[in-house]
Structure formats: structure tokens, C-alpha cells
Amino acid sequence: MTEPLLFELDKKGRRGYALPKLDVPTVDPADHIPTKFLRKQLNMPSLSELETVRHFTRLSRMNHSVDVGFYPLGSCTMKYNPKVNENIARLPGFANIHPHQNANSVQGALKLLKTTEKYLAELTGMDAITLQPAAGAHGELTGLLIIKAYHNKKGNNKKKILIPDSGHGTNPASCTMVGYEVVNIKSDNRGCIDIEDLKANITQDVAGLMITNPNTLGLFDENIGELASLVHSVDGLLYYDGANFNAIMGWTRPGDMGFDVVHLNLHKTFSTPHGGGGPGSGPVGVKAHLKEFLPTPFIIEENNTYSLKNENDDTIGAVLGSLGNFSVIVKALAYMMYNGKEGLKAASAYAVLNANYMMKKLKDTYYVPYDRFCKHEFVISGKTFAKHGVKTLDIAKRLLDFGYHSPTIYFPLIVEEAMMFEPTETESKDTLDGFIDVMEKIAKEAVENSDLLKNAPVTTPVRRLDEATAARKPDINFYQKP
């Protein structure tokens, strides 16, 4: 199955859309714009509407997606994306409002944002929320800018952020972006932060500790209270990476665990679609002592009237050109309203149930490096298959042949040949059982006929791709061949 490129479907003279007839006198741009600024040539394919529709429909069929099948990609929370939320986000009163409209003409939108802030503050146990960040990594950056602003204001001479070796991939890059040095903290044999290593690294120049809890092994760190005290003892701040928030909604809150700054991923925990890689939304929550540093504008509510406060003395500034990825936020609020307090708590409960069930079932066939109850996700290692010449990558590719998406692989870095599974609460026992059967079958194949794995996938639109040549001779623009 190969779909021609848009450019190969080009036929000059075809049109996919007609504008209304021009109803004003024409003026010639050449009379108003210096010649050197007038465009000489524009390359862009011409297709009819039907051809455009078919091209993109055919391409869509070459994707795996949640709507098609199980997608147990660890730390990505590929839960069901409710259809009704798409309708809500497309209501004219939400989709057709301009960001520069006066506050009095967008009271509904501002109220929606304020309500979302309140719910997220309640869920995380924080005192104030900004909805501005456009993605998880953007939330991290925002949170770290807030931490830096806090220390700068207090005159603290801070240089380092501590991150456990199981930390999410973007954490170190986000720290570097605000000028902090990253220090890795070891994990102990239970998969949690090694307290002794943390103590050894707690120095006066520590700006903060950045962690997820449960961590990327899916394990809850029960020492969190002590970790928080240690970090706070040097006036460091505790940062909560909310990528794994789907594990604890309604059960415990970062604010109660001692965290000062939190980011959430609305496209994970709050069911907004991942869109093939974006758009997301990465709100940031803070405790009261950091509220003044949040990005502006703030949404102010007075007597049920909403306004924007554009300036604030200690604000870090702004991290986005608008108030946030509004229509993503609309979908997240719709999700919270539909589920309500009991539904949100149940979502985490069943996410944890599903993960433990899958882990227990897979334990007979696969090596589980940290054998204890997990939260919403768990990690197994493919290293036991090395003697058959089979790598985790091969297992991941073979899963594609059976119509499943692979788990996250080779992450976290501290587990050899790691496979990280996150089933989410929206998957049924039947789906999990079907998947577990296939995992067992693949384990058997690895021993008996490993070529099936090494040659996989064979049923997908394309087979394994030559990534080395793609990087060596990049072909990334149709109009400019390498």
C-alpha cells in the first residue's frame, strides 16, 4: 500500500475550492507594492476536492490509532477520546471567537477557563493554575521559569536541578533551557529514589527536584514526604511531572505530597486527543507562595464577571501568544464534567487495576524487574530473549503484525531492553486478554522461530524502514531533492 504524494497528484487547472466573486473594485498589487516584493513563482499542487479527500482518507488508513485498536504506549495515556468532546469544541461559541475580542464579549470562554483552573487546582491540591503552556514539555519549561524567578527574587544562588535516573526524557532539556545544571539521582532496588544518593546531593545550590510519582516504572515512591522535606530544607522546590497523573486522580494529590509546582498533560489524563503528536496542553499549577510568578494574563473573577489582568510585578512574563490551546482545554473540561468527582477517581482506579492485571498475567512469560504492585503502568524487560537473538525492538515490531500498537520501548533508561505498558482504564478485560495471549504467543515464537520476530512486521503498510539512510541523506522537502 503506497499513496502517491500530494505533488504527484498535481494537475494544473484543477481547483478544490471556489471563493465568492470579488465584489470590490480591483487594484493591481504592482501599483502599490515595489516590484522586488511581488511574488514571481509559487509551487503548490492543484487537486480537486474529491482528490484531496481521497488522498487524505487513504493516508489516514495507514495509521494505527486508539479508534482502531489497543495502544498500550507507556507514559502516553492513550485512553479513549470521547466523540462528544469534539462536538463541544466545535460549537460556534467556542470555535468562532477571536483572541483579541474584548473580555465582555467572551465571558463564556473566560468562565470556562476559570472553571477548568478551579477543577485542576482541586485535583492537584495546588492554589493557582495557568492554562497557557501548549504541551507537557512547555509546561516543564514554564514551571522551571517559575522556580528560577522564585530563587532570583529571594536572592538564592541556585545552580542545579536534581532528576532521578528514571525521569522523563524532556526533563533534562527543560532544565538546560533555563540555565540549570542537571544532576542525576540514582534509583534504589525498589525502583524509587535512592534516599542516600539524594542526601549526598542535597546542597545549598539545589534549586529543586523534578520527579514523577508514580515514576516511569509505574511505581509509587512512598518516601515522597521525606524527599520533600530534604529538598525544602535547602529552600529547593519540588516539581511534579504530571505525565503519570492518570494513576492517582482522586486518591492523592501532588499538593498534599509536598510539591510546589505541577504540570499536567490534558492530552493524557484528561482524554483530549493526541492528534498524531499534537496539539496538547500542559497547564501548570503552583502553591500560593509561587502564584505571583505565574505567566500573565491572569483571569480574574469578580461578581461572576471575568476580566484579564495583563501585568503583574513578579510574573515570569508569557510563554504563549494566547491564553492557551483553548479548544483542547474545552475538551478537557467536558471530560471532567462528564466524569465528575467519582468518575475521575474511578478512572485512576481502573487504570491501576488494568495495569496490575496485565503485569500479573505477563509475569509468567516475561521478566518483571520490579515485582510489586504498580500504578497505571509497568515495565518489563526483554533481556531474557537475548540468547535467541531477539531484542525488545523485535517484540515491539511483531506486535504490529497482530494489530496492536507497541509499548514504549527502551525507556526508562535504567531497565535493560525495557518495554513500558500503559493499558489505561478504557480498555476492557477482553482486550487485555487478547493482547496477553498474543504476548505469550510472541514469547513462544521468540524461542521456537525467532525469524518471525526479526522479520516483523509483515502485515503493515510498510515494513522496517531504513532510518540510517534517512538521516545520512535527508529527503525532507519534495521540492529539493538531496
Binding site: 471567537i97 463564556g108 491564553l323 525532507i476
Partner: protein
């Protein structure tokens, strides 16, 4: 319990038995008691789909929309025509419920779309390469500045204050926190003051950032600005309006090293500011400095054409601390939105959109010129956005809104010296009669 959880009570019991616990609560046992949330969340109870839809629909109806009113607002987001076919394609679950193409064999749809997006953006901007997109316009400029710094080894950047104030604020926040020295130059007659620029550029300058057309809608002489930047060994970053580029010369042909911009005008709904899409394209020499994701074309082991993420040595992977950027996603669905838009429009259609914008804006300017007490402060060439000055601008805007016209953006809060100035935009969606009404009501308001 919400219907999104499919477990029957029998299944729940079976699963608990397999795990070896009696209740789900036991799976949370390791959370210390003092950290447990031993109360209900202060969030309302769940509701049915119908009740939720009714409540949010009512909330949405409080907002005044650009459908029921006439929108002359611009300033970075524009009320363009959006062909109906786009949303039907975006609503295919295969696109919007997929994630990042980590497994390319089952993500060819997303990957090929991004390759097509990249090619179209390169064509539009006249550049050699681009990435798979960034969050939106402001942050695309943040990344462009970082690229220029990495390329030149310098930390000073010159911004013209004719750049969108919201973008400048984000640049100050993010680049400023990374110790970039930011110099902002004031304008002359709505465009760059070349004398000031010549004085400001030196051998410490990493880049000059210019908007095309600028925040006031005026055309900057980007060719001359690029030349001045290059003479000092600095790069020229041009932040461009993608619709304008259908009739304006590609920045790549006028000396730009990096072209950025907000992709919203390419068929993306206004949605109160987002999600939008930032594009960033660059000359070949900057390829290894490009942040974010890039999709490349390659072959599979059977020799069949396919696409993969490529050149991604950073962020989540190896050398994480050395990454120049922490961006590890893109705005894939919005990139798809703009790609479908460009596919439907084609070169001819896009040119026509741009021409209609241009011609309607110029018709409007000639009509506005007939209004007494109204002045046009800048004389430079413009595309589809312009600044007008009227007495008591704030109250005039309010009166216009009462007539159902979003008449423009009051500029004083961004530019204290532009008191009573209004920025207005005219897209192809505006009709002659809407423009005539605007002029009529404005004339009345000024009487």
C-alpha cells in the same frame, strides 16, 4: 462510574482474583495514609452526555462570535474562509486518536502528511527545510532566535518593535531567561528605522528579527534588513504571514536565513487563540540546528517508499542535557489542517485568497479616507491590515461593537505613543457591504 470504563462487576472480580487482592483500594495501599485524599474532590458529580452538552452549549452561547458579528480583528489571528472538507478529514479517528509516529510502520499516514506539510511550507517561504511544526507563532520565533545563537555563537538579538507585541513578550520571557540580550528598536512611519538599525547591529549580534508584513500590516524592506544583518555576520529571521506569501516574494529569495510564522491563517479556526501552529523554515546551513521533529522519506526493506522521523539526536533521546530545545512534539493535527487547506486551495486558490484580502483592504482604505476626523498615520505599502487614528478610539470601538462590528484592536496598550490608533484587518471573507457598513457606522460614531 462513567461509561468510558467498560468493566462489568464480574470482570472486576475476576481481575482482582488474578491479581490476588480483594479490592482496588489495596492497589493504592502504599500511599501513606497522611498523604491520601481522604475526602471527596470538590468537583461536581458526573452528568450525562446530554446534560454536559446542554451546560457547555449555554456557556458557549454567552460569547459573541465572528459569525453573528463582523470581524475586522487581526493582530496575528485572522477570520479567513475555511473549506468544509477540512474538518471532516480532521475528524477521522485514524488521524486525531493516533499519537506521535514512534512506530513508523503503523504511522505512515501521519508521517507522509508531515512530509507534505514540510514541502509546502518550504515552497511558500522559499527555504530549503523546515520541521514538523511548533506550538504557534510566538514560540516559533523563540526557537528561531535560539537557532541563530547556536549558529553564530552570539547572544544579542535585535527586534523591531513592529513585531507582534505578544511575540516580543514571549521572546523576552523565554529567550531572556537564557541570557539573550534583547534590543528593541522603535519604528519610523510604521516600519523599521534603518538608521537606528545600522547603529544597533554589531559583531555581537546573532540575529535581526523582522515581521513581514509587520504588526501594523506594513511591508518592511526585508531585503535591505537581511543585507545589513549579513554584513555584520548576523542572521535575518523573517516572521511571515503565510497567506501574504502567496503574492509577496518569498523571504528566502530576499535574503532571509530563517522564516517563521503563525500558520493559523491557513484554514485553522480562531478558537479563542488556539491551538494554532508555528512554522519554522531555514536555509540548508542550519539543518542540524533545527529544533523539534523532522520527517524524512526513505525505503523499507522491500524497497517500498516510506517515511520516518529523522535527525532526532536530541530531546528525549541521547545527549538529553545537550539538547538545544526541549520540544519533543509538534502540532501534527494542525499541520494536517494547514496541509489540507493548501491542497484544496492550490497555488491559484491561495493567490486568489491573498489578492482578495489585498483588494478588499485597499478598497476599505479608500473608503475610510473619505471619513472626516479619521487619519491614517502610516504611509508604507500594506497587505491586508492597517492602522487608522480616530478621536476617542476606545469609545468608538465600543459603539461599533454595539452595531455588531469588531472594528479593530486599540493599539495604545501596546504602544503608548499610538493613542487613539486602531489596527484593523480585512480578509477575503469580508464583503463590500460589510466594509461599507463599517465606514458608515464609523462616520456616524465620529460625528
Amino acid at each position: 462510574m462513567s461509561t468510558y470504563i467498560p468493566h462489568t462487576s464480574t470482570e472486576l472480580q475476576e481481575m482482582l482474583n488474578v491479581i490476588g487482592v480483594k479490592t482496588i483500594d489495596e492497589l493504592f495501599a502504599e500511599i501513606p495514609n497522611n498523604l491520601r485524599l481522604n475526602k471527596d474532590l470538590d468537583i461536581p458529580c458526573g452528568m450525562s452526555e446530554l446534560e454536559m452538552t446542554r451546560e457547555l452549549t449555554s456557556l458557549s452561547e454567552i460569547n459573541k462570535t465572528v459569525d453573528k458579528n463582523v470581524c475586522f480583528l487581526g493582530g496575528g489571528a485572522y477570520d479567513h474562509i475555511i473549506p468544509a472538507a477540512i474538518d471532516h478529514l480532521l475528524l477521522r479517528g485514524d488521524f486525531f486518536t493516533a499519537y506521535t509516529p514512534y512506530q513508523p510502520e503503523v504511522s505512515q499516514g501521519t508521517l507522509q502528511c508531515i512530509y507534505e506539510y514540510q514541502s509546502l511550507i518550504c515552497s511558500l517561504t522559499g527555504m530549503d527545510q523546515t520541521n514538523a511544526s511548533l506550538y504557534e507563532g510566538a514560540t516559533a520565533n523563540v526557537e528561531a532566535i535560539k537557532m541563530a545563537e547556536a549558529q553564530t555563537g552570539r547572544k544579542k538579538v535585535i527586534l523591531l518593535d513592529t513585531i507582534n507585541p505578544a511575540y516580543r513578550k514571549v521572546i523576552k520571557t523565554i529567550n531572556g531567561a537564557q541570557d539573550t540580550e534583547i534590543i528593541t528598536l522603535s519604528f519610523e512611519d510604521g516600519v523599521c528605522d534603518v538608521t537606528k538599525l545600522a547603529r544597533a547591529i554589531d559583531d555581537k549580534t546573532a540575529a535581526v528579527l523582522v515581521q513581514y508584513p509587520n504588526f501594523f500590516g506594513c511591508l518592511e524592506d526585508i531585503e535591505n534588513i537581511a543585507k545589513m544583518a549579513h554584513e555584520a555576520g548576523a542572521l535575518c529571521i523573517v516572521c511571515a504571514n503565510p497567506i501574504a506569501l502567496a503574492i509577496l516574494e518569498a523571504p528566502g529569495n530576499l535574503g532571509a536565513d530563517i522564516v517563521t510564522g503563525e500558520g493559523q491563517p491557513l484554514g485553522v479556526p480562531l478558537s479563542f487563540g488556539g491551538p494554532y501552529i508555528g512554522f519554522l523554515a531555514a536555509k540548508k546551513a542550519l539543518l542540524r540546528k533545527m529544533p523539534g521533529r523532522i520527517v524524512g522519506k526513505t525505503l523499507d526493506i522491500d524497497g517500498k517508499q516510506g517515511f520516518v522521523l529523522t535527525l532526532q539526536a536530541r530531546e528525549q533521546h541521547i545527549r538529553r542535557e545537550k539538547a538545544g530545545s526541549n520540544i519533543c512534539s509538534n502540532q501534527a493535527l494542525v499541520a494536517l489542517n494547514t496541509t489540507i487547506y493548501m491542497s484544496l486551495m492550490g497555488a491559484e486558490g491561495l493567490k486568489e485568497v491573498a489578492l482578495h484580502c489585498f483588494q478588499k483592504a485597499h478598497y476599505m482604505k479608500s473608503e475610510l479616507a473619505k471619513i472626516e476626523k479619521l487619519t491614517v498615520p502610516f504611509t508604507s505599502s500594506f497587505f491586508h491590515e492597517m492602522v487608522i487614528k480616530v478621536p476617542n478610539a476606545d469609545s468608538v470601538l465600543k459603539r461599533m461593537e454595539e452595531k455588531g462590528i469588531f472594528a479593530g484592536i486599540a493599539l495604545e496598550k501596546y504602544y503608548p505613543n499610538l493613542k487613539d490608533c486602531i489596527l484593523l484587518a480585512v480578509t477575503e471573507k469580508r464583503t463590500k457591504s460589510e466594509i461599507d457598513d463599517y465606514c458608515k457606522y464609523l462616520g456616524e460614531a465620529l460625528k
